[in-house]
């Protein structure tokens, strides 16, 4: 299966959904290596400049199928023929679908409930210690009161 492979450089964080910091280095024809899927594919490309492969950390395929990938491995077959392994950037590839979906948010940067216990934040070993004194007490220093109980009353 052949398609256009765009060797790119991506400066965005891996987890980012909408990536804008992607620059194309070289576009060239490519083909999937046999039995290679679309989540962890290996493609074979022939480039005009080997430096394109060297400087790329990202690639996309376009044509009938559009997908985006992080480059995980590069292998040179000849000086201009390379095999490149990648891992699908599913967040960018399916960004629109993700945004139209709903789900239960476990953690979020802006929406949160700080009264739900969070085990990801550690605490210091030292604890603070506060004393709260009650304002009164029935007990006094000094002789106090002596109670004598005798049998028989009068």
């Amino acid at each position: 299966m052949t398609f256009v492979v765009n060797l790119e450089n991506c400066t965005e964080p891996v987890l980012k959904c909408s990536k804008t910091g992607i620059s194309t280095i070289e576009s060239c024809p490519g083909a999937l290596v046999n039995e290679s899927g679309l989540v962890r594919p290996t493609i074979r490309v022939e480039v005009s400049d080997p430096a394109s492969v060297e400087s790329a950390n990202y690639f996309s395929i376009s044509g009938d199928i559009v997908r985006h990938f992080f480059i995980t491995e590069k292998r040179a077959i000849t000086d201009k023929l390379f095999e490149i392994s990648g891992k699908a950037d599913l967040r960018y590839t399916f960004a629109d679908a993700i945004k139209s979906s709903s789900g239960i948010v476990a953690r979020n940067e802006s929406f949160y409930n700080m009264y739900i216990a969070d085990g990801k934040i550690p605490t210091y070993a030292q604890k603070t210690m506060n004393i709260y004194k009650f304002s009164g007490t029935p007990f006094t220093l000094g002789a106090g009161t002596i109670i004598l109980m005798t049998a028989g009353g009068l």
């Binding site: 629109d96 709903s102 934040i121 709260y132 007990f139 109670i147 009068l154």
Partner: protein
């Protein structure tokens, strides 16, 4: 009988501030202060929370099973609310709080007519100015059964008047979730009501001999008792009187010293044994006041333990201990203490020195478990008596229950007092022990040993300090646990479950891989 709040005759119950996401918040309209039938605006009352005083008015009139509303003294035509759900708006402006009831729970209040009402819990929430809060109010009318027909929706988008079955754990049982019996101001015990005076008088006002006599003495008076008793004349007379009883001192049931002033002593009387005043030629009579009551009731005041972090840590990472004189140190559940005002009272049995501490927690409006205003959350017992050795014979078992069994120590020594001291056993050794695993804040201290310890109660609160890395929310997010459309979200997000839609062209492998990544690594929108 479903609970509708504090003495509510109108059946108002206000449940869940879902907009502000404070779980467990329950607010009740205080209807005891209002005459809702006047139809004119009038002052319900003022309430001071912190440094701010809120003034509340009511303009409602009840007619049959319907609420009729007024603006000032003018009846607003066409607005009647039947029993059911409606929205309640709380809008704070500076130091004033305006409340309104709107017929549509989810309607924006701009342009809507507003009326004044009172809502005590809303006041205690301490709402910041400039923010409008929405509450859902269930008006049950006068029909007791109505409140059970409704279940609360979690989402404001759903029809608030729909009746839904409890789907298992989502909705609290309305009867029990908000129901609690109020422990009112009159619930503080008054053991004086149980006191039976040993004294009686005949028709002429003359004292009738009783079974026993409690006296209250000063140290000087106690010294005089010894002098009189052991005067040889006194002994000879007593021996003769008792017709050979082995020891006249057996008439002395007990002598203890209490580290407090009872304010129960009254008058001046000759101390009597077996009905006869003790007397010696050399020292005369021994005098003392009568103890006119048995229970000493004192308040130790109140302490407020605030939320420090405003997070779960105030409740899960906080340890609270309380030190009580003549009891020792005990642990408290922070859930019962944090965000509460704690009032402590002490009840001392003057006959035995038994001590009972009773703690009551008042809700301050910070979120907590209480749905009413207060509750008795703790009681601890000990003993504050110091035995003064006089007699050998234990005659005091009938005088009362000695409850200082905090460590399981045997308390018979207290009833016989002197016998223990004279045989050389260590009271201290029998009283202390059973230290708890709280480091320096552990321990039982009761009995006379308590006089060597701190004489006022205090709380010890230990709190953990979180180590937040800089910018942590953007890197790992904070816990939410709520359903959202993904396009509502921004920043770092981790899903616990996501239902991917519109994944045209995606293979099953890609869909599963994406779901796993979103639920394990997250995404940045």
């Amino acid at each position: 009988m479903p609970n509708r709040g504090v003495n509510s005759t109108l059946g108002f119950s206000c449940l869940r501030d879902y907009e502000n996401e404070i779980p467990g918040t329950i607010a009740c309209i205080d209807t005891t202060q209002a005459d809702f039938r006047t139809g004119t605006e009038h002052l319900l009352g003022s309430m001071t929370v912190g440094n701010t005083t809120y003034t509340c008015y009511s303009t409602f009139e009840m007619g049959d099973n319907v609420i009729k509303v007024y603006s000032g003294s003018t009846r607003v035509a066409g607005v009647e609310m039947s029993p059911g759900l409606f929205g309640f708006v709380c809008d704070k402006n500076g130091s004033a709080i305006n409340f309104g009831i709107i017929t549509d729970p989810y309607q924006n209040t701009s342009g809507a007519q507003q009326w004044y009402a009172s809502l005590r819990s809303a006041l205690l929430q301490g709402h910041p100015s400039g923010i409008t809060y929405y509450y859902k109010v269930l008006y049950t009318g006068t029909d007791d059964d109505l409140v059970t027909e409704y279940a609360w929706d979690e989402s404001p988008e759903l029809d608030g008047e729909a009746t839904e079955d409890n789907e298992g754990g989502e909705f609290a049982d309305l009867d029990d979730f908000s129901y609690t019996q109020n422990q009112g101001a009159n619930d503080w015990p008054d053991p004086d009501l149980d006191f039976i005076s040993p004294y009686a008088t005949d028709a002429g006002g003359n004292p009738i001999p009783g079974l026993y006599t409690p006296y209250e003495l000063t140290p000087a008076q106690l010294q005089r008792v010894g002098a009189v008793l052991y005067d040889s004349d006194m002994f000879d007379e007593l021996v003769q009187k008792l017709n050979g009883s082995s020891n006249p001192i057996s008439g002395i049931l007990r002598c203890i010293q209490l580290p407090l002033l009872t304010n129960l002593g009254s008058g001046s009387f000759n101390i009597a044994i077996f009905g006869d005043p003790i007397y010696s030629e050399n020292h005369g009579y021994a005098n003392a006041a009568h103890l006119t009551g048995r229970w000493v009731q004192r308040t130790a005041g109140s302490v407020t333990v605030k939320e420090v972090w405003g997070t779960f840590r105030d409740y899960t990472d906080t340890q609270v201990s309380i030190y009580l004189p003549f009891v020792g140190t005990r642990q408290l559940d922070p859930q019962l203490v944090v965000g509460k005002s704690l009032e402590l009272r002490c009840y001392i049995d003057a006959y035995t020195g038994d001590v009972l501490w009773l703690m009551r927690a008042y809700n301050t409006g910070v979120q907590g478990k209480f749905f009413e205003s207060s509750g008795f959350i703790g009681r601890w017992s000990g003993n504050c008596a110091t035995e003064i050795p006089i007699g050998r014979i234990d005659n005091t078992r009938a005088l009362g229950t000695l409850v200082g069994a905090v460590s399981g120590a045997v308390l018979a020594p207290f009833t016989g007092g002197a016998s223990l001291a004279m045989t050389g056993q260590s009271l201290a050794g029998m009283l202390t022990g059973g230290a708890q695993s709280m480091g320096v804040v552990s321990g039982n201290v009761t009995g006379h040993l308590g006089t060597a310890d701190v004489l006022y109660p205090y709380l010890i609160v230990q709190r953990s300090v979180p180590a937040y890395p800089n910018g942590w929310r953007g890197k790992i997010g904070a816990i939410k646990n709520e359903t959202y459309q993904a396009n509502e979200l921004s920043g770092y997000t981790l899903f616990s479950q996501i239902f991917l839609e519109n994944m045209e062209g995606a293979s099953g492998e890609e869909i599963e891989a994406l779901r796993n990544e979103l639920c394990s690594e997250g995404i940045i929108f």
